[in-house]
């Protein structure tokens, strides 16, 4: 698994560091919004970063950002939040990579799939924590909002990705 696809190691460290910082900052920003949103609903802004990293750098780097973002959540918001972040982030990463490599789906399609897998990963983790399958009570609302937020993050990724790719192809 080769992390750096570029000629410059410094360039790779810089761009990956910026993207991880962006993912962490967006996650924190989102926590502020979530106070005004219904129970459990999040926009998933960090999804933009992971999708752009997967598309413009490579899959291992996107996985690295996903994992380190969860470590950031673990350090700032505690064990449960960290585990939940991982349980959402890993399935979302997996489906994002699968769709990038194996399908011609649009950024919006990929982003919606990632958001849906993210909430189901978290819901099943929550079912495990509470010992009750009825935790899926939260599923319909989360599913509808995941599709909506997936549309938004997918559209943003579609705008950013070509620009970013153009910039970092010279590294």
């Amino acid at each position: 698994m080769k992390l750096n696809p570029f000629k410059s190691a410094a360039g790779y460290v810089a761009i990956t560091g910026i993207m991880l910082a962006l993912a962490a900052a967006l996650t924190t920003l989102e926590s502020l919004f979530s106070a005004f949103l219904p129970a459990g609903v999040r926009i998933g802004l960090a999804n933009i970063v992971v999708l752009c990293a997967a598309e413009c750098i490579n899959a291992p780097t996107a996985l690295l950002i996903t994992l380190l973002k969860s470590v950031f959540v673990l350090l700032t918001r505690g064990f449960t939040a960290g585990v939940m972040s991982l349980c959402g982030g890993l399935p979302a990463f997996a489906v994002t990579i699968f769709m990038l490599k194996k399908t011609s789906a649009s950024y919006i399609g990929i982003s919606v799939s990632g958001a849906v897998l993210h909430i189901f990963g978290q819901l099943f983790a929550a079912c495990f924590f509470t010992g009750s399958i009825y935790t899926l009570y939260y599923a319909p609302l989360l599913l509808v909002t995941a599709v909506a937020s997936g549309f938004f993050t997918g559209a943003v990724s579609g705008r950013i990705s070509p620009l970013l790719k153009n910039r970092i192809s010279r590294l």
């Binding site: 459990g40 449960t80 939940m84 011609s104 509470t130 010992g131 009750s132 009570y137 939260y138 599913l143």
Partner: protein, 129 residues
Amino acid sequence: MKAQVSSSRRTFKPSDIVIAVIAAALLAAVLIFRSIAEPNGSLAAVFFNGEQIASLSLGTDGVYPFDEYGVTVEVTNRSVRVINSDCPDKICEKTGFISSSAQTIVCLPNRISVRIIGNTDSNIDVVLN
């Protein structure tokens, strides 16, 4: 670099329809799952880590602080809600009232969940395990 692929991802593809169909099917599945749950019960059960720690009669209004678990539960008008929690997300508070066994209130940071259980009315107001 496979830059030529990326521009085509700006428009919808047949595989996007597959995603839409799967998302719609999932929504239908979770809605059906919710609708086939048991009828309304008479007790609000409070769980910690999946273990029941208390059951509250829905027939008796009251406020029940679970200080060591960080949540306060209120029973009003045959429904139950979490009115206060020391967690950061407040997902439990925002869930609001539940009155059917298909519903659950979850507070993951505190590992607390509240469900409606039981089908028979009893004269007991609170049972603390």
